[in-house]
């Protein structure tokens, strides 16, 4: 079973690399949001460094939503999903692995580059690490929660809009605790960070079940 899951993971990473789009698109979107905000706010470095973590988090949320609509849709359109339904491995685990591969391609680069983008928003050293650490825990939650929306909208041609409407409310708690942990000063780092970890783990555990149920319905 581990072998099957490894095959699915490598397949999705390989497809993302061959077809392109997904990962780089999110990264460019992230970068453009972060570069545009200082222009909109004006030359106030104090304000910028205060709202910097929030901007990075919002950018990460929107960038995560960007490629999600294709997470299952491509496999639904070409019949690969039917083959996965015939696999001896439960669909829930396949969904889990697909989400992990998706995060590996789209979420992880955001996390790795977030300290660099934080510099552009005048964050200091500790804030840079706080943002990177919270994003490392928070972006998987976005991917997994988004997978529920992606599975529900898998049969819709232009599902991206509906997906955002479905997923953003679910992502709000993650955003709240992520930003409050990243914005050190008002509250201690650890408490909201642990809640964020809990939210991340819960979404990893529960979202594949919901998404797999939605995909089974879509196969009809």
């Amino acid at each position: 079973m581990i072998r099957i899951l490894l095959v699915v993971f490598l397949r999705d990473v390989m497809l993302a690399r061959r077809i392109g789009g997904g990962g780089v698109l999110g990264l460019v979107f992230f970068l453009s949001l972060v570069t545009v905000v200082p222009f909109a706010i004006g030359p106030d470095l104090r304000l910028l460094s205060r709202i910097g973590p929030a901007i990075l988090w919002i950018a990460a949320l929107l960038a995560s939503l960007l490629g999600l609509d294709r997470l299952f849709q491509a496999d639904h359109e070409d019949g690969s999903l039917d083959q996965m339904l015939l696999s001896p491995t439960p669909l829930e685990l396949i969904v889990l692995v697909k989400c992990m591969a998706h995060w590996f391609v789209t979420g992880l680069p955001l996390v790795l580059l977030s300290p660099l983008f934080g510099l552009m928003l005048d964050l200091d050293g500790s804030a840079l690490w706080a943002v990177a650490a919270t994003l490392l825990v928070g972006t998987p939650a976005f991917t997994f929660l988004g997978a529920i929306g992606a599975a529900l909208t898998v049969t819709l041609r232009r599902g991206g809009l509906l997906l955002s409407i479905l997923v953003v409310p679910l992502a709000v708690p993650v955003l709240i605790f992520g930003v409050s942990a990243a914005q050190s000063g008002t509250v201690p780092f650890l408490t909201p960070f642990l809640v964020l970890c809990a939210l991340g783990l819960a979404s990893v555990a529960l979202a594949p079940i919901a998404a797999a149920a939605a995909l089974r319905g879509a196969a009809e």
Partner: protein, 208 residues
């Protein structure tokens, strides 16, 4: 060919409904090892729906179905003991034929032939390392059919398997099907053109 023990597919009073509308009802079918059934009927009568229902993608409205393997008493779910090749070929255009088949093997499990051997049986070994997106419709179809040989499963469900295949490829498919049946496999095909094998059971849908 080794795995396939004596199998027996039994379908009793199967009906499938989409929403309120009953697509078809009262399908009885008994298929033993080495037997091929061809589902025929006019367009839109529910041939593909029947195959998808047997594959487990659709819930039944009513009826029962079982695939009994007399020797292997392991009660693996039906979905893990069948192949389904439908209108959508389940191939990734960006990946090569070899990669597609390796993934197919990885997902379906229980390997039999290697991708090269399977493609060779369909006389397509020369496209092994070409991206499937470069292939013609008939070649894609043959790569999808090669998946049948990659993973060992007793029941084959083929939806219009002859589409886009030239006369030679049809003959190849016929040989492969005959081999599968000869080793004790079962096959159910929805088709407008008969494969022309001896002893084919005819299932006519929509004979009103």
């Amino acid at each position: 060919m080794d795995i396939t023990q004596r199998c027996h597919l039994l379908i009793e009073d199967l009906s499938v409904a989409r929403g309120e509308r009953v697509v078809f009802g009262g399908v009885y079918l008994q298929l033993g090892s080495g037997e091929l059934a061809e589902v025929t009927g006019p367009n839109g009568v529910g041939k593909s729906t029947l195959l998808r229902a047997i594959a487990g993608f659709l819930p039944f409205g009513s009826g029962r179905m079982s695939l009994v393997e007399s020797e292997a008493m392991d009660s693996a779910p039906l979905a893990e003991r069948l192949h389904y090749v439908g209108h959508l070929d389940g191939l990734k255009s960006a990946l090569t034929a070899r990669e597609n088949l390796e993934i197919g093997l990885g997902i379906l499990g229980r390997g039999r032939l290697t991708p090269l051997e399977a493609l060779d049986r369909l006389e397509l070994a020369h496209v092994l390392d070409l991206p499937v997106g470069y292939l013609s419709a008939g070649q894609r179809r043959r790569v999808a059919l090669a998946r049948l040989l990659i993973a060992d499963r007793p029941l084959w469900l083929l939806d219009e398997p002859l589409t886009a295949l030239d006369r030679h490829a049809r003959a190849l498919l016929k040989t492969i099907v005959a081999g599968h049946l000869g080793s004790g496999g079962l096959m159910l095909a929805a088709t407008h053109e008969p494969l022309g094998l001896q002893g084919t059971i005819q299932v006519r849908l929509g004979a009103r």
